[in-house]
């Protein structure tokens, strides 16, 4: 991985950072690269409440806020921004307000790399809306000033539309931190991680590949 001036990660939900980016974040931090994570919502509308339930609609945000902080701690991330929007409403916010939210972060932090979702190929409406705002904020910058943009895409038609990722990060040096970030979001990941841990213990090739490598699409303007 190349050294960056500053990395800005923008996702809408606590846990969006954990699955496919936490290894990258932890690795940059170990390299001494400043990393900021702007998380737009607290995942207020998450559906996993358990049965019997461990939370309700009104207590879930506080649980997920603590999990987000714990995930940041696991990755060694100190600049965590909670942007105060509500889960599942990002696409209904004023488009210009969203672009400004991103542009203000870029202006403040002057990142050389931004990581977010690929608009239109990220399944959840909040993901696509976040990606749209990021792309538009960068598109409005002069070409020479634009940071690089790495994106995550996982719609079922992704490979058909944009092929395979072109950026591959070896994050095998920070696997404990990545697992720490995943496990920090227990309300969302506990079932998934039980299965994942079994697969890792059995040295399942796909699980090990997930743990040790992360993949991005460079967004071109």
């Amino acid at each position: 991985m190349e050294k960056e001036r500053h990395v800005l990660v923008i996702f809408p939900h606590p846990d969006d950072e954990a699955f496919g980016v936490s290894g990258t974040i932890a690795t940059y931090i170990e390299m001494g690269v400043p990393v900021t994570y702007a998380c737009l919502t607290l995942g207020e509308m998450g559906r996993n409440l358990g049965n019997p339930p461990f939370a309700n609609r009104e207590t879930l945000p506080m649980i997920r806020k603590k999990e987000l902080q714990a995930s940041a701690d696991a990755m060694g991330l100190t600049d965590l921004r909670m942007m105060g929007l509500r889960d599942k409403t990002v696409e209904f916010e004023d488009d210009e307000k969203m672009v400004k939210l991103v542009a203000d972060l870029i202006e403040e932090l002057n990142p050389s790399l931004i990581i977010s979702f690929y608009p239109g190929l990220s399944v959840h409406p909040d993901h696509d809306a976040t990606g749209r705002a990021v792309v538009e904020a960068i598109r409005r910058m002069s070409e020479s000033e634009r940071p690089k943009l790495y994106t995550i895409a996982f719609d079922n038609k992704t490979v058909e539309v944009i092929g395979h990722p072109d950026v591959h990060h070896d994050v095998s040096g920070v696997t404990e931190k990545k697992l720490g970030a995943m496990n920090a979001h227990a309300s969302q990941t506990v079932w998934m991680m039980e299965d994942m841990q079994k697969r890792l213990d059995a040295e399942d090739a796909d699980a090990l590949r997930w743990l040790k490598t992360e993949h991005f699409y460079t967004y071109t303007f």
């Binding site: 509308m45 409440l49 609609r57």
Partner: protein
């Protein structure tokens, strides 16, 4: 939240009748439904912090229950309610949780506004 005890829930719903109350009502299949099951028709609705004053509220059916509120000139109802609690802020929180622990419907009544 606990499994609905019909008589207790009925008396809680009665206790909010005739007052200006804030409503949260939500039905959802989750934003990933059509991702995991191609062709799934994903529908849902969400409304939060709408003030109403209902004259009659009823718990109907066996679990999962249906809850209906009769308004001066309209109705609110939800089906699939399995769990409820009166929280420390005096808000009546009801939810329909599937056997997988995922929320399918939430219906909440409060005399004070819910957070954002």
């Amino acid at each position: 939240m606990e499994l609905v005890q019909r008589d207790q829930l009925q008396s809680l719903i009665d206790s909010f009748a005739g007052k200006d109350v804030y409503i949260h009502l939500e039905t959802t299949n989750g934003s990933y439904a059509a991702h995991f099951q191609e062709g799934f028709f994903n529908a849902g609705a969400f409304i939060r912090n709408i003030v109403v004053n209902y004259e009659l509220g009823k718990v109907a059916g066996d679990s999962p229950h249906r809850i209906g509120l009769k308004l001066p000139s309209g109705w609110i109802y939800a089906q699939g309610i399995t769990h409820y609690e009166l929280d420390e802020h005096g808000r009546l929180l009801m939810a329909g949780l599937g056997p997988d622990g995922k929320l399918a419907v939430a219906f909440e009544i409060s005399e004070t506004p819910f957070t954002y």
